[in-house]
Symmetry: C2
Subunit: 287 residues, 2 copies
C-alpha cells in the first residue's frame, strides 16, 4: 500500500536522549522535505492537500520535536535548542541532505537548523514566519493574544481564526481545511500537554526581542529559499516575509491575496505547485 498522510504509520527514532515520533511518505529517491510545525501543533495539524501534494515529487517527513505530543522529552525554551533537537533527529535518520520547511514558529526552527547545520540543508521553505526581532514580534500580536485566548465551541475552530481571514471566501476555504486535517482517522497524535505552550511562548519572546542589527544573521544563509505568506497575516505580520526576502541573499517571495497566517491551506494546490517548482529548480538553468 502506498503510504500517505492518512496511512503512514507513526515511527520512532532515538537521538539526543529523545524518542522522536515521525512519519514519512512520498518518493524515496529524492531529497526529503522535513516539516517543522507551528505553535502547539502536532503532525496531525498539517494539511494532507499540502503534504500529499508535495509528496508526489519527493519524500515528506513529518515529526514532533522534543516534548511535543508523541515525542518524549521537554520543549526547550529557545529555538536554537529546538533546532539542535531537530538536527539530531535528521541525523538519526542518517539523511545526508534535506530540504526544510518551517511554518510560523517552525520557520524560526528552520532558520536555526540552517544556521547550525548549513551543509545538511539544501533548500528552505519559510511559510507564515519572520526574522529574529521582526515587526510586531516582541510579543504575540494583539490579534494572536485574542485568538489564542478565546474559547471555541469546537476546539478546531481556533484554526479558522488563526489561519484564515474574516472574508467569506477565506472562511469557506478554512472549513474545507478542517475537514481535510481530520481525514486521518486512526493513529492520530495525542494533543500536546500543558507544558508545551508556555515553553514555546518563552522561546517566542527571546526570538522576537529587539536587538542591534537584527537582520544581519540572514546574510549568512546560502540556501535558496522561498518565503510564502498571506498578504494579511495577523499572527506574524506579512511585512516580516518581505523583510526575510530583502535580507536573505537568495530568496524568492510569494504572498497570496486575502489570506492570513495559513495561506498554504487556503491555496493548497497553488502552494504545492509553487513550492514544487521551487524545489525542483535545476540550479544551473535557474528553472
Amino acid at each position: 500500500m502506498i503510504r500517505t498522510h492518512q496511512t503512514a504509520p507513526t515511527q520512532f527514532v532515538e537521538a539526543n536522549g529523545i524518542r522522536f515520533a515521525y512519519r514519512r511518505f512520498g518518493r524515496p529517491d529524492s531529497v526529503p522535505l522535513v516539516f517543522n510545525q507551528h505553535f502547539t501543533g502536532t503532525m496531525d495539524h498539517w494539511d494532507p492537500a499540502v503534504t500529499d501534494g508535495l509528496a508526489t515529487e519527493r519524500e515528506v517527513i513529518l515529526f514532533n520535536n522534543a516534548g511535543v505530543s508523541s515525542s518524549s522529552g521537554e520543549v526547550p525554551t529557545s529555538f536554537e535548542q529546538m533546532a539542535a533537537n531537530a538536527v539530531s533527529f535528521v541525523k538519526a535518520l542518517r539523511l545526508p541532505k534535506v530540504d526544510v520547511l518551517g511554518f510560523s514558529i517552525g520557520g524560526f526552527v528552520a532558520q536555526e537548523i540552517a544556521l547550525q547545520a548549513p551543509d545538511l540543508v539544501r533548500r528552505l521553505v519559510l511559510v507564515g514566519t519572520g526574522p529574529r526581532s521582526g515587526e510586531g514580534m516582541a510579543t504575540l500580536t494583539p490579534e494572536a493574544q485574542e485568538i489564542f485566548g478565546a474559547t471555541y465551541d469546537q476546539p478546531d475552530h481556533l484554526w479558522l481564526r488563526v489561519h484564515f481571514t474574516r472574508s467569506e471566501k477565506s472562511q469557506a476555504a478554512g472549513r474545507e481545511f478542517l475537514k481535510r486535517f481530520r481525514l486521518r482517522a486512526e493513529n492520530r497524535d495525542p494533543e500536546v500537554n500543558e507544558k508545551v505552550a508556555p515553553a514555546q511562548i518563552e522561546a517566542i519572546g527571546k526570538w522576537g526581542a529587539p536587538r542591534e542589527k537584527p537582520f544581519e544573521y540572514l546574510k549568512s544563509f546560502r540556501q535558496p529559499t522561498v518565503v510564502v505568506n498571506g498578504g494579511n497575516d495577523v499572527i506574524i505580520d506579512s511585512v516580516n516575509s518581505f523583510i526575510l526576502q530583502q535580507h536573505l541573499p537568495n530568496a524568492q517571495l510569494i504572498l497570496y491575496p486575502d489570506a492570513s497566517h495559513g495561506s498554504q491551506y487556503q491555496y493548497p494546490e497553488l502552494f504545492v505547485r509553487h513550492v514544487s517548482m521551487f524545489l525542483s529548480v535545476d540550479e544551473r538553468r535557474g528553472v
Copy 2:
C-alpha cells in the same frame, strides 16, 4: 507559418486619430494579453523568451502607444491620457476582454487602463512597477538618473544596468537577454524620437508626486492581479511592489532574488510559468 515574436508582421490600426503599430501572435482562441512597455521602449524591447513563452497558451499583443516609434501622434504627458489611447487601441481591435501586462511605466498605464475601462480588463500583470506616489517615485531615483544619464559604448548595454543587478550571475543573464532581444532581425521598430523621453518624464513626475491617501485608489480594483519584481529594483524600489500587493484587494506578489528592474528577463522561464499559472487559474477552484 506560425507567427512568433520574430516573425509577426507589424500591423496598423487607426483609433482616436492615431495610427497604432502592433503585432499579435500566439493562440487566438483565448483572452489576449496586451503588453505595455517601459520608458522609451518599443515593441522590440520585449524579450522573446517572455512573449513567445506566454504565447504558447494565449494570444499576445504588443503595441506602441501614441507617439512611440512606429505609432503616429504625440506622447501625452500623463498616464491617464496614455491609458485612454491604449483603451482606444484595444477597442479598435474589437476585443471585448483582455488581460493587461504593464512593465515599469507600462504598469502605470496598465493601472489607469483598469480604472478607466474596468469591464475591458480581466486580469492584470504588474511588473517592476509601483503605485501613484510610491516610495522614491516623486522623481527618477538617483540610480535611474545615473544609469539613464550615462553613455555606453554599445547603446544596448544601458539595459544591463537598468534591468539587472551588478552580480556576475545577473549580468550574465543580462547578456543572454540582449542576444534574445536582437534576434528579430527584420522589420524592427525605429528607435523613439527625441520628444518621447521628456513627455514620459513629465508624466512620471505627476504620477509619483506626493498626495493625500495615495493608495486609496487601489481599493477599487476588482481584477485578480499578480505583482512581480526583482527584490533589488533600483529603478522603482521593490517596496512599491509590496505596497501594491498590500492595497490591491486581490493581488499575489512574487519577488525574485538578486534581481533588479527586469527580473522577468533574468528568470524568463520561471516568470512565464508563474504568470501562465496565474492567468490560467480557474476562478471557481482557485487553481
